[in-house]
């Protein structure tokens, strides 16, 4: 897949930090923390819903080595959200650092800081809390209008109307209707409907949540955090702690995975308030149990989908009703809810009427938050499963139904208000996927003996590339005094490789080796603004900013080079680390040029900057195909093969793109077959370790094949779109489809466990 004529872009270049992180160099948050930092631990609520009557710290504070213990009486009274979103955030300000009311099992009650972990845990045991226990609401289908109100407080607020009705436990609601849906359904030849329950899923990144904090030489608060959103953390902390944001610096080192989890600030505030109160460095590291049970998960949802099609199989009406469980706090409630339709409905633009309504409700469980796919994952499972059902009713091949109905490059869609869809090779993705999985031979099923049957299934999906008109990224590039370059970005590499991708792009434009670029990012004191790594933004948005800045700097270098060579601008070109005349007669190296411009007489350091935000968010696409083997005696599903054909526009780095795709598919396989965040009747999470919560191991993923069908997106850098999230969406509907084709059981409540398949086969 090497790009002709390009040296960096399109090449499978090793990640610039790859060797250091692979060989265990100390580059993650905990590795670089100070040894003398106070250890911060959190006392948590054992109740799903309660009011704290009193907290007795007298015995705990006497433990030698305890530095401070903080309760709700010690924190600012200004509510905030932990959602990593651009200001003004569309999430309710419904949190305090510590609150008098605790809203789920695991909600924070007290912050303990001590000289070491042992001492902090000993002190924690000696804290006595008197609770007034309240009746929780745990079932999200019963939350709406329940007599239990999760947020009774008066001071909860929103930046603007997101459809919040806290007295009804509604964190957010919306309705979008285009055309006359009922009338269109009446005209349809075939109408199908069903109800789906995609489950809460845990991010399960390998590096758990962690941050350490200290005051610098000017007394400012420095927060080193494993976060996807340094700039949002700075703003949130300033509000939560009621200090000026100029007094906060957030640094992101290497990150051990995020998947959206670290787009919600789980831990920073607890360490920060300890440092502010004591003046001492502090570190907080969540263990795996806290990471599972006291942070965020994917939103569990109920989706009712109704589809109508004409005799030719053209989808004419779509109705979706969404109920989303946002848990105890409303981080990302409105936006994830909105994305359910936003990232599914544009797929099928021959519909004449569309209606989507939704509520995100508060319950007394761990909050939901951002998770790779961000509502599209849940929406794709429901909509694609219904399209597969429609195809069967119409007695049509499900791939043919897609090819007949999908939106094409440059078209509009009903709910899009005239916005044009960007580049698309989705039709080619479907054709290629059919070929790679062997659809013609394998669809729908084959008996293979010994009570086992093999079958195939499929689904398609889309996502966005950044957030149109909201997400912006800034980049600065300068020519240094030694002829090398420094590229400053706010982008947040969490392992996926955007530091490398952006360097590749700058190197391509400046026509220099990547080694001549120093990439600096992830520090709010020195980085230009970037919202962070989320919403599939970095390649598309920060990438375009990088291209713009690099082009600008290239022009400035050429101008100076031409001047120094005494030729006109159009006679000069940049290559081989020098400005040369096109006829090859003269050249000036970048080292010399830098010397003459920056040092001594020149007095001009060449720098460039660019801020980019896109008015559109061109969708990447995936066509996913699953082959499963189902044991008819036990209901066990084994994934044999998974094919995902991806249109992410131009592939900037084939290796890193493939890895994103393979990893996203594996996470989707986990959601389809194994993973579920589960609570007991009292609201305590039962799946709080890898013993109870199974993520796929290398025996569980079968064989995953990735192929790329490139399109060229004119608004993207080098024609690129996004890839990070779209790859997580197809496994659930495609595997569910394959299981149905194998044994006739439609599992609508994820994950697809052997028990559900077996009971379905027995019609139980």
């Amino acid at each position: 897949m090497k790009k002709i004529g390009m040296k960096s872009v399109g090449q499978s270049i090793r990640k610039i930090d790859g060797m250091a992180i692979a060989t265990g160099k100390p580059v993650y948050t905990e590795d670089i923390a100070m040894n003398n930092a106070l250890v911060v631990k959190i006392l948590r609520s054992p109740h799903a819903f309660a009011k704290i009557n009193s907290i007795d710290l007298s015995r705990a504070e006497k433990v030698e080595g305890v530095e401070c213990i903080l309760t709700y009486k010690d924190v600012p009274a200004e509510r905030f959200t932990l959602a990593g979103q651009s200001y003004p955030e569309p999430s309710p300000y419904d949190r305090l650092i510590l609150d008098k009311i605790v809203r789920y099992v695991g909600d924070e009650v007290a912050i303990i800081a001590a000289v070491d972990e042992r001492t902090a845990l000993l002190a924690m045991k000696k804290i006595k809390v008197d609770y007034e226990v309240w009746e929780p609401v745990l079932d999200f289908e019963k939350a709406l209008g329940n007599s239990t109100v999760v947020h009774p407080e008066e001071d909860l607020s929103c930046n603007f109307d997101i459809g919040l009705h806290k007295e009804k436990n509604i964190a957010s609601s919306f309705k979008e209707v285009v055309g006359d849906v009922e009338e269109e359904f009446r005209r349809c030849y075939e109408v199908v409907e069903d109800v789906y329950y995609p489950q809460a899923q845990a991010h399960a990144m390998m590096e758990t949540y962690r941050a350490y904090t200290y005051l610098d030489h000017t007394g400012r608060l420095v927060v080193v955090s494993s976060t996807q959103i340094p700039f949002h953390v700075r703003r949130q902390l300033a509000r939560a702690l009621q200090i000026p944001s100029s007094k906060v610096r957030v640094i992101k080192p290497r990150i051990g995975g995020g998947f959206g989890g670290k787009q919600t600030s789980a831990v920073e505030g607890f360490a920060a308030i300890v440092t502010l109160k004591t003046g001492k460095p502090a570190i907080i590291i969540y263990d795996r149990k806290e990471t599972f049970s006291c942070t965020t998960s994917r939103h569990a949802m109920r989706l009712k989908v109704k589809l109508g099609a004409d005799q030719d199989g053209i989808i004419r009406a779509i109705d979706m009703q969404v109920l989303s469980d946002t848990g105890a706090y409303g981080e990302h409630a409105a936006t994830v809810l909105g994305c359910v339709g936003h990232y599914t409905l544009p797929l099928y633009n021959k519909a004449r009427a569309v209606r989507i309504t939704g509520n995100a409700v508060y319950t007394n469980k761990m909050p939901a938050g951002a998770f790779r796919g961000y509502g599209a994952t849940q929406g794709t499972f429901a909509l694609e499963s219904t399209v597969n059902k429609l195809a069967e009713r119409l007695k049509m091949d499900p791939t043919e139904v897609r090819l007949k109905n999908i939106s094409k490059e440059g078209e509009t869609f009903l709910t899009g208000q005239g916005v044009l869809l960007g580049s698309s090779s989705l039709d080619r993705c479907i054709e290629k996927g059919k070929e790679l999985i062997g659809w013609k031979e394998k669809f729908p099923r084959r008996e293979i003996g010994q009570n086992k049957v093999r079958a195939v299934g499929m689904a398609i999906t889309m996502q966005g590339s950044g957030i149109a008109n909201i997400g912006t990224a800034s980049v600065e590039i300068r020519l240094n005094d030694d002829g090398n370059f420094t590229l400053l970005s706010g982008a947040t590499d969490m392992g996926h490789g955007c530091d490398t991708i952006l360097t590749q792009m700058a190197a391509e434009i400046l026509e220099i080796p990547m080694d001549n670029i120093i990439f600096v990012a992830g520090d709010t004191d020195t980085s230009p603004y970037d919202p962070g790594s989320y919403a599939s933004s970095t390649t598309y948005v920060a990438g375009t900013a990088t291209v713009k800045a690099a082009k600008d700097l290239k022009n400035k270098i050429l101008e100076q080079g031409a001047k120094l060579l005494g030729v006109s601008l159009h006679e000069a070109e940049l290559n081989g680390l020098a400005v040369r005349t096109i006829n090859g007669d003269q050249e000036i190296s970048l080292v010399k040029l830098a010397e003459l411009t920056i040092l001594g007489a020149g007095k001009l350091q060449l720098t460039s900057y660019a801020t980019h935000g896109s008015e559109v968010s061109p969708p990447p696409y995936v066509a996913g195909f699953a082959e499963v083997e189902v044991d008819q005696e036990t209901g066990k599903v084994e994934l044999i093969d998974y094919v995902a054909v991806v249109d992410c526009g131009t592939v900037i780095n084939p290796n890193l793109a493939r890895m994103q795709a393979e990893g996203g598919i594996a996470q989707g396989i986990g959601m389809a077959l194994y993973e579920e965040v589960h609570y007991n009747d009292l609201g305590k999470m039962e799946t709080n370790s890898f013993m109870q919560y199974k993520i796929p191991c290398r025996k569980d993923v079968g064989k995953v094949h990735i192929a790329f069908e490139e399109s060229f997106e004119p608004t993207g850098p080098f024609g690129a779109k996004s890839i990070g999230e779209v790859v997580a969406n197809t496994p659930s509907p495609a595997i569910a489809h394959a299981v149905y084709n194998a044994v006739g059981v439609r599992v609508k409540h994820l994950p697809i466990t052997p028990e559900k398949v077996f009971l379905g086969m027995q019609k139980l």
Binding site: A22, T23, H203, M206, E207, G256, F259, G497, F690, R698
Partner: protein, 149 residues
């Protein structure tokens, strides 16, 4: 309590607590490649060698390594780099947090199995979880490294 132990070919005497696990002892002595990620012996990130065999350092009391030999990735820099070059050329380190433990197990497998089949490789490494890569790239890298394409 004091233990005498050979860490990466160097004999040291360390003070450890009775209930201290090896992963914490190693990290507290600056061997920061050893990562901790699950608390339940499930993830493989803390893999080190005890007498040249891979073990989970989160599940071994430090007292029990008295008189024994421990190797972390810091102790096999040449071999680790050799495989890491293959792994990163595939892009299969991704976030890198699980890589040191994974590499220790790959190197142990290389010492233990001659020309392993794909099934044997997957079986040997199955205790090393990774949430980023989906395992395919790691498998390609291991096969390239072992020359068992």
């Amino acid at each position: 309590m004091q233990i005498n132990v050979t860490i990466n070919d160097k004999l040291v005497t360390w003070d450890v607590k009775k209930d201290e696990f090896l992963v914490d002892t190693l990290r507290s002595h600056g061997l920061l490649s050893v990562k901790k990620a699950c608390d339940t012996s499930c993830c493989g990130l803390c893999t080190v060698w005890l007498e040249d065999k891979p073990v989970l350092s989160c599940s071994i009391l430090s007292l029990r390594i008295h008189g024994k030999k421990i190797t972390t990735i810091e102790g096999v820099p040449k071999e680790a780099e050799e495989f890491a070059r293959v792994l990163t050329a595939e892009g299969a380190e991704q976030c890198g947090f699980c890589s040191p433990g994974f590499i220790m197990n790959v190197l142990a497998m290389k010492n233990e199995l001659l020309n392993p089949s794909e099934e044997e490789i997957i079986h040997y490494l199955t205790g090393n979880l990774c949430r980023c890569t989906g395992y395919m790239g790691q498998l390609r890298a291991v096969k390239t490294y072992l020359g068992v394409l």
